[in-house]
């Protein structure tokens, strides 16, 4: 065993295209693996609930094509995790087809394409619950109830490194993974080459968002991660404009997580409390001291989302200073008109007042509105599109007719950018952020191998 080197050109592949210049510099380093994660739960619950992508297919294909051509030319494995933003079965199938079609387009020689699924049948979860294995909540959520399960359309389980390692053991040249921990796909490559879980998962942790671990700030640039026999992790920026510094690498450890010291994956915890960061050379930082602690019970994180209903959006502007000061009464008037027509239940109607507290809502410390104008965004959701549209247009247009006692302008209380309401994506909700006990890390992740190329 010697060192293992992995390049990562993108975090959340597909959400914005990778930068080709630094990627080609990284490829010229002749890495042992080319890998990237394609998932995120940042994008809200709509893609998972409706089994769609947040990323355009052109950008997904762009990055997969760059990575596949480089990986086949170097004859090294290419690994993708959390296919198509959510990692559902349909997104895995879509990426598998993209790989096959890119291979065909370029006449690539035949190679082994491995893939695994992450989607979990709600009935399997129901059975576990009924057999006394509770689905425990994360982040202060209580254990899952059957009614929450009923309100869920799609559930994915978060794989650790095991399904990726299994496919590498079976000789896969390209792996398309279902939902997986960002760090797992990189850790799998390092552990496949014989490195220990501590340095392997740390390597994954630092590479998962590509150049977010480099400075100056700039996403979608390639970084090179290396793990050696001494358990050291070295991370190097490939963009000529970026460096991996102690501050940038340590800073990345806290990005998007509540705590910079711990990272949970199925079956264990990466403890980064004793990490030591050292500047190895101008563009490279060395990290040691991470510690992977295996857990006694194997619990897998579940993400689930469900559709609440169809959704429409309306917008209205307010400029009259008296109306600005009384915007709450204008909204109350419109809400009352909706209630008269549709009652109190069976729909949801929400107002965001930009210029007042539209961005922060209840967290906004500025209580006195300082703006000279406001934009009110109205959202309505209901079981059918017709009903959502009518509620939304009532809730928007009735602001125009609001009756304020001392208003000077009596020809209309709001301005309209559009005299219509717009259909938006369905209203959805994250219904599961929980964990489930399993017997081993492969249980929920069926694996397959097929051929691609000619």
């Amino acid at each position: 065993m010697s060192s293992t080197r992995i390049i990562c050109p993108n975090g959340h592949l597909g959400f914005a295209p990778l930068m080709t210049k630094s990627f080609h510099i990284g490829v010229a380093e002749k890495p042992d693996y080319i890998a990237a994660d394609s998932g995120s739960d940042d994008i809200g619950p709509v893609p998972l609930a409706t089994d769609t992508c947040a990323s355009p297919s052109q950008w997904q294909e762009h990055d997969l094509e760059e990575m596949l051509l480089a990986a086949r030319k170097l004859d090294v494995p290419m690994i993708i995790g959390s296919a198509g933003d959510t990692g559902t079965n349909s997104r895995v199938d879509m990426f598998v087809e993209m790989i096959k079609s890119i291979a065909k387009k370029h006449g690539l020689s035949q190679f082994k394409l491995g893939y695994f699924y992450s989607e979990v049948d709600p009935e399997l979860i129901r059975t576990k619950m009924q057999n006394g294995s509770p689905i425990l909540g994360l982040d202060e959520r209580p254990p899952l109830t059957e009614s929450e399960l009923d309100a869920t359309d799609h559930i994915v389980a978060m794989a650790n490194a095991q399904p990726f390692m299994d496919l590498l053991d079976k000789g896969a040249d390209v792996i398309i993974g279902g939902r997986s921990s960002d760090s797992a796909l990189f850790a799998a490559a390092a552990m496949h080459n014989g490195h220990g879980p501590s340095e392997s998962y740390y390597l994954g942790k630092v590479l998962e968002c590509a150049s977010f671990c480099a400075e100056p700030y700039g996403g979608k640039e390639t970084v090179l991660g290396e793990v050696n026999d001494n358990g050291e992790v070295l991370v190097t920026a490939m963009s000529p404009a970026q460096r991996c510094t102690i501050a940038s690498v340590a800073g990345h450890a806290m990005y998007e997580r509540s705590n910079p010291f711990h990272e949970n994956v199925a079956g264990g915890l990466l403890d980064m409390s004793n990490c030591v960061y050292e500047q190895e050379s101008e563009k490279t930082t060395r990290v040691t001291g991470a510690n992977f602690i295996a857990s006694e019970e194997m619990r897998v994180k579940l993400e689930g989302a469900g559709k609440l209903g169809e959704r429409f959006v309306g917008m209205a502007g307010i400029r009259d200073p008296y109306s600005v000061a009384h915007v709450d009464q204008i909204i109350d008037w419109a809400k009352t008109q909706v209630k008269k027509r549709f009652g109190e239940e069976g729909y949801e109607l929400r107002y965001n007042v930009f210029g007042k507290n539209g961005v922060m809502g209840e967290l906004e410390p500025v209580k006195e509105t300082l703006s000279h104008e406001l934009c009110v965004v109205v959202q309505a959701t209901a079981p059918t599109a017709e009903m959502a549209e009518e509620i939304c247009i009532t809730g928007t247009r009735q602001m125009f007719y609001a009756r304020l006692p001392d208003v000077k302008g009596t020809a209309g209380s709001v301005s309209f950018l559009l005299d219509e309401v717009l259909q938006a994506s369905p209203a959805c909700e994250w219904t599961l952020n929980h964990t489930m006990a399993v017997t081993d890390g492969l249980e929920l992740f069926p694996r397959h191998i097929t051929n691609a190329g000619i």
Partner: protein, 111 residues
């Protein structure tokens, strides 16, 4: 009244002030300093604490899941629970990326 000679705004001292989702139920805030001196200045000022951010955002202490000082990055970091998961109807900040702004004006007393 603020004594301008003896306080600075947090935005004048910190290199980075940001917020972002930490999963679907939480938003995390990072205040990162250029060097150890600026980090220590703010830490020792006692102005940026679990209690002071609870007051600033008008939330109970129980909504703060973590408040940590992170030496390797010269950073102070705290995380709050959302009232509803990200992207629920009416959530104006699905990524949680614009919730940091009130921190910028926080007054930090100088020694």
């Amino acid at each position: 009244m603020t004594d301008n000679m003896h306080t600075k705004k947090l935005a004048e001292i910190a290199k980075t002030i940001r917020s972002k989702n930490a999963g679907v139920d939480k938003i995390t805030f990072d205040i990162i300093f250029r060097d150890r001196d600026d980090y220590d200045l703010v830490r020792n000022s006692g102005a940026l604490t679990r209690e002071s951010v609870a007051v600033l955002y008008g939330i109970k202490d129980s909504r703060i899941s973590d408040f940590v000082e992170y030496d390797p990055a010269s950073a102070i970091k705290f995380t709050i629970y959302r009232n509803r998961p990200s992207g629920s109807m009416g959530d104006p900040d699905i990524f949680g990326a614009q919730q940091y702004a009130p921190l910028m004006d926080m007054d930090i007393p100088l020694p």
